[in-house]
Amino acid sequence: MIRNPKRWGRLGRTKATMVGAMLVSVASVGLTTTAASAGTKPAPLVVGAMFPFTGAKAILSTWGTHGVATGVYAVNAAGGVLGHQLTYTYADDAADPADALPAFRQLMLHHPTFMVGPFSPTIESVINQFVPNNVVDFMVGGLTTLDNNTNPYVFRTSSSDSNEAIAMAYYAISKGWKTAVMLFDNSANSQGFVPPLMAAYKALGGTIQANEVINPGASSYTSTLTSAFQNNPQVVFDSMDSATAATLFHDAQQLGYQNRPWIGDDLQSSAKGPYAAAFNPSTVSTDLIAALPATPSGAGYTTFLKEYGLRFGKKATVWPTAFNEYDSIVIASLAMTLANSTNPKVWVKDVTKVSNPPGTMCSSYPQCLALLKKHVKINYEGAAGNDNFNQFHNVFSGFQFLGFDSSLNTHQVAFVTPAELASVVAKEAKK
Amino acid sequence: MPTMVADNISAGYGKNLIIRNISLEVDAKKITTIVGPNGAGKSTFAKTVVGLLKAQTGSIIVNGDDLTKVPAFKIPSRGLAYVPQVQNVFVSMTVQENLEIGGFVTKGSTHERMEEILATFKDLNKARHKRAGFLSGGQQNMLAIARALMVNPSVIVLDEPTAGLSPAYTNVVWEEIARIAESGTAVLVVEQNVERAIAHSDYVHVFVAGQNHVHGTRDEIGKLDLASIFLGRSEVARS
């Protein structure tokens, strides 16, 4: 579900710098030092974080590192794991499969207990590394090819794009929008939406009038837009990187096509973000809508926000997916505690035991820890929602739909539950 | 005093000297011509004089002003103009623009001077808005000469101004050269066409194998058996 903005430019070797990531990293040094200087405690456990710090997708590292830092902060604040403090180290995969492997091997030098990242689809180039190197991985990203993942060490803490696509279709139909056009850029992630969205929308009785593949980085999209909109669709489904969206939204606004709902994915959801800024200001409060996985609104999410605020300050931007990485760290810590072992071979089997029902619901690390100490079977409901892994180690969450107000802040306009998604899947099966 | 004095010039490309120890003088109102067989170093000498090639020895003095170390682009403003043998006009620009460029080295307006020159070169006047690349070869040569005259030079160096021209046009060009000399300019011509050169020149230098083989007034040179020099019987006695 994470868009990987792919500019047309010299992706391979142009290194993008993330000021945000830099700050996090520098802060982490301080943290590590503090932990180490405590002295009497056992050696800290290393969390390996692998994100694209350079290249055109470098923004993702800002998201990821904020989540990791918050998770580590929260766990350490509650006393760590089995007496160990957590610490973390980074590696840069540059979102390039050819760079991912050396980055992974770099991480291994620090003997991480588990890993967070990389975002899909970079994970494809290291997915076979986790078992032999004895490292559990929690990754984020909607790539639909992972829907049937069988790798025992790999867990996905965000819902698949195929679910997100179904939710988008369900929401549109529930609003009575029966004709649609699809504008998805040519990146792997965006294109992952296309088949499930088409299938679901058709199953629910909708008609796709046009499916345009957007080539990122063009100076204008008027021709694509004019041909897509000839039959005056009721709704638009879209997903593209922010620079492309800025241009395409701008063009669509000029052509008068932003007087109907544009349902985008989570990328589009950030308040005051580039997407909202480029949308027609007079219709942005009615027509720009973004789907966001899970329900970052329950007790787990409140806890996350509190920890995030403690870690980065109350006013810090809460980056997308940060709660997923945070949840990953909490779940891993709980699994280790339950297994009473830091050996991944041992505790990997306990990941689903702490996150899935049945069990007593708990939504923060200290709370769950307290239950575990009492030998109570727990069911961690984290910042992302239920965090229940299915047999393929995928979570299957509901989706909230966000709208914007005129000052470009977000608010929830609808929520599609997992049950509703299941009903669509059932309908598709019938057809 | 001669307008231009070239003293003991040697030059060439890299270590290879093509001309050695050449000295010659050019006087105002006179046409001085350099002739010689192929490969004698005539064009090389002309290029050295105008600064396109660095002289390895010797000096070039125009009106008492030492130009030996002056960069090529400053030479025209010091009174020494040059017309190369080929590619001697800016083909993509009009006749008038070519002339304007010739006048750029002077500060003030060149308009009057241009009209003056166009009045003499009637052919060019008719074609003043035509691009130089579309002129005939002879007209191009004329234009090149006219451009060089824009600065009102003390010395003008012409490298084979009649090469490849029809006899009729050759005459026109020579008449023009004569008029330039009459107007007070010192003219140095590099020429293949020996007979015509001798007919039109005041003073002639014969270069052979990179050296100033023999020189003299028109009459003195006219008496020599130049054919033998040119066709290889170089043992012909110097006069």
């Binding site: 010299r10 590292s61 840069d92 492997l101 050396p102 494809e124 076979n128 590394q129 | -």
Partner: protein, 339 residues
């Protein structure tokens, strides 16, 4: 310790792969004089074909599939892909070398690479668009029942064997009369034609060999990462390989190794590691990438022959012994030299 060795092995693997890649570029650019700015395209074609050949055949369904799938053992897919790439490179050469002068050729080469890069992103039928190829099998791993770490050691060995073999081949080619013709074309293609060498044919041959080497490098990259997609490569990455060749030594087989090692270790992997682990700021990595440009300028200006210069072959090399003629110096020439 094993994590350390694995990391070192991975670096070694990359150095070996780019040595192979540099050898090919060295032949086409430094030894034949063709400004082959499309070289990274051949790396990519090699990677794609290696992946496609070793993945199973999937018939087209809704416009997606793998038409090239041969389910071939990776060890076999690699050379087969390289041969195919060599043929493609020769085809590209045959079209463009016929008509174009050096600078236009350079521009056209980049344009061709850009068109095909765009194609690789947009075309879903043949190369799966931006998703690219995933789960490219690890050659031998299945047969020997070894995990990916053991496989890394093993395959680094395989790559080294390949590299040594290709190094020997390149050495043999460049030392042969054919290599001499390549160099003659580089020095002056007009002269090469006047001494009876079919310049066009030799240039195409050089392109073909270069394409083969590029493709082997690409195939190894894809097999190592087990995946390949448009973000794995970009046409302009060719600049890194050019820098390896220029810094290492133009026209020198060992120079290619030096250049590949220098760039991979000191300018690409090293800065990434230092940036993530010590400086905690990717700025350093980015500046290292910028420094590659500066390195190339400095090298080209102060040491255009590179770290390991091209070796001249003395008479002894050809004869297998010192020549027996007495040293005779032409008196006329000494006159000449004095002049």
């Amino acid at each position: 310790m094993s994590a350390f060795f694995l990391f070192v092995m991975t670096m070694v693997f990359y150095v070996i792969v780019f040595w192979i890649g540099s050898l090919g570029l060295d032949l086409v650019w430094s030894r034949t004089g063709i400004p082959i700015f499309a070289y990274y395209l051949y790396v990519a074609i090699g990677a794609y074909l290696t992946g496609l050949f070793s993945l199973p055949h999937v018939p087209l369904q809704n416009g997606v599939g793998n038409l090239f799938g041969l389910d071939m053992p990776g060890l076999l897919a690699l050379p087969l892909a390289a041969v195919a790439t060599g043929v493609i490179a020769m085809g590209i050469g045959a079209v463009f070398l016929r008509r174009l002068r050096t600078d236009y050729l350079a521009v056209v080469m980049v344009a061709v690479a850009l068109v095909i890069w765009d194609f690789s992103q947009n075309d879903i039928t043949l190369v799966s668009g931006n998703t690219g190829l995933t789960n490219i099998p690890l050659p031998l791993a299945g047969v020997l029942k070894i995990n990916i770490n053991q496989w890394t050691y093993l395959y680094t060995g395989v790559a080294l064997v390949w590299a040594l073999a290709l190094w020997w081949v390149m050495k043999t080619v460049s030392n042969s009369p054919t290599g001499r013709v390549f160099r003659a074309i580089r020095d002056d293609s007009v002269v090469a034609a006047t001494i009876g060498k079919n310049v066009y044919r030799y240039q195409i041959l050089s392109m073909g060999i270069g394409g083969f080497y590029a493709a082997i490098a690409g195939g190894f990259l894809a097999q190592l990462a087990t995946s390949w997609n448009p973000s794995s490569w970009a046409p302009f990455e060719v600049f890194n390989v050019f820098t390896m060749v220029i810094v290492g030594g133009v026209g020198s087989n060992l120079g290619a190794l030096v250049g590949a090692a220098l760039l991979q270790v000191l300018f690409i992997q090293g800065p990434t590691y230092v940036a993530s682990n010590y400086l905690h700021s990717p700025t350093f990595e980015t500046l290292a990438a910028a420094a590659i440009g500066v390195l190339m300028w400095l090298s080209l200006w102060f040491r255009p022959q590179g770290a390991v210069p091209e070796k001249l072959k003395p008479t002894k090399w050809y004869l297998g012994r010192e020549p027996q003629l007495a040293e005779s110096i032409n008196p006329d020439l000494t006159v000449e030299e004095r002049a």
